[in-house]
């Protein structure tokens, strides 16, 4: 079965060694997803597979037959950016921008995790309602490092969008 990336179908590579990250960047030319460490330790390569955020560097492309992958290119475009992307611009949520695609993919999936009521290490209760607080967002985004240290603005950008989404839902 082929792999679907941002609603387009692609054939998987023949070489089983190709990571999903390298497949995106060098095989099909989607260079938005970034390689930071290539070892699962930075989050720059975060993409969304079947609704869940993962590190594309630690996943073999050949194992993704039939999967639906969303990359930063599938989240928004320069002419039609997502609300979160606009919020990153508004809050200066980046400096060099290298970690940003990973941050945005990660936070986009994180919003669904909040909506599902999934707890995190920062949640006081495992079963009660979870308030969207900066502390929760910091813990949930801790898989995305930023070498420029733009964290304060990244958290502001995300907080604005996820709280607005929650208000819109209720």
């Amino acid at each position: 079965m082929p792999i679907t990336i941002n609603d387009q179908s692609h054939e998987l590579p023949d070489d089983p060694r190709v990571s999903l990250l390298d497949f995106l960047g060098t095989h099909i030319g989607l260079t938005g997803t970034k390689k930071g460490c290539d070892h699962g330790q930075c989050g720059a390569c975060t993409v969304i597979v079947n609704g869940m955020r993962i590190n594309s560097c630690l996943s073999l492309a050949a194992l993704h037959d039939g999967d639906h992958v969303t990359t930063i290119e599938g989240i928004g475009t320069p002419t039609d950016p997502s609300a979160l992307q606009l919020s990153f611009v508004e809050h200066d949520g980046f400096q060099c921008g290298y970690c940003t695609p990973g941050q945005i993919c990660s936070a986009t999936a994180m919003a669904d995790e909040f909506a599902n009521g999934w707890p995190s290490d920062a949640s006081d209760s495992l079963t009660g309602d979870i308030a969207i607080t900066p502390e929760e967002v910091r813990e949930r985004m801790s898989g995305n490092l930023c070498r420029c240290g733009a964290y304060a603005n990244i958290i502001d950008a995300i907080m604005d969008t996820v709280t607005a989404e929650k208000e819109a839902q209720s």
Binding site: P16, P119, D121
Partner: protein
Amino acid sequence: MKPFDLQRADGLAHAGQLCADKHTAPIAGGTNFVDLLKLEVETPSTVVNINPLPLGGIEETADGGLSIGALVSNTATAVDMRVRENWPVLARAILAGATQQLRNKATTGGNLCQRTRCYYFTNIDQPCNKREPGSGCGAIKGVARLHAVLGTSDHCIATYPGDMAVVLAALDAQVEIAGPKDSTRTVPVRDFHRLPGDQPWKDNVLEDGEIITAVTLPAPVAGRQVYRKVRERSSYAFALVSVAAVIDMDGDSITRADLAFGGLAHKPWHDPRIADLLVGQSPSEALFDKAADLLLEEAQGYGENDFKIPLARRTLKAVLAEATGVKP
């Protein structure tokens, strides 16, 4: 990465037959295995994709426990409402490990079988008896901050790095295993990982061709459940010391003290003498110190990790104080 052949498992028996070859290994989430393939620590000739196997469900067992399939993601386990309500310590341990992206891919079986984070093991230019039998142990007399203080040998002082299995050991969960010839067996988590002895390359009791199919939790028990993980930073870091505890009290008397420890040994550490000491007693700081004395009776530091011995004592005492309500 060395070239390898990728096979897809068509059923459990097929997976077992393929993996019976010692140069063949299964891959689940890949969050540990792909890393080690890149580092050429793992150099299999064939890799078997076990993800098509129907091992992705969480089901209640006849005696009120829970069977968690080998391919269930760590996230799916941690957010399962039955786990959150009845075995909260398991959800806590998973949420305290790795990152959301990693937990979304990491599986029950892969998490149990994840390899040590010893820096010599992951660097193929260094000696390591686990990776290359007979080459020596770089960590003994070397950089050993993450390393073990209990159950070590002259051949290897590595730790089992995971969090989930420490809780599974405290809860006395069972590992369900399928063999290559349709055989099955059940091994307590407490006996699943090995001590290094003179065969440090064997992390656990799995034989070639054996695949983990599930982990079974016993029925929930009453009591306070605590997982405390001490680490260098609160994300991405493995435990220096961790303590999993299920403690119950009747009035002023301890009636249950199921404990296991991470970061101290080549396996989640469980010492039945500690429960024997604590049960029937009234909690006090003096009692907690005696429990720590037992735990650490034979502890041995290797320089850089000497700090783990007092740290384990303090962490155990803090967890016992929290779970029994005694002020330390």
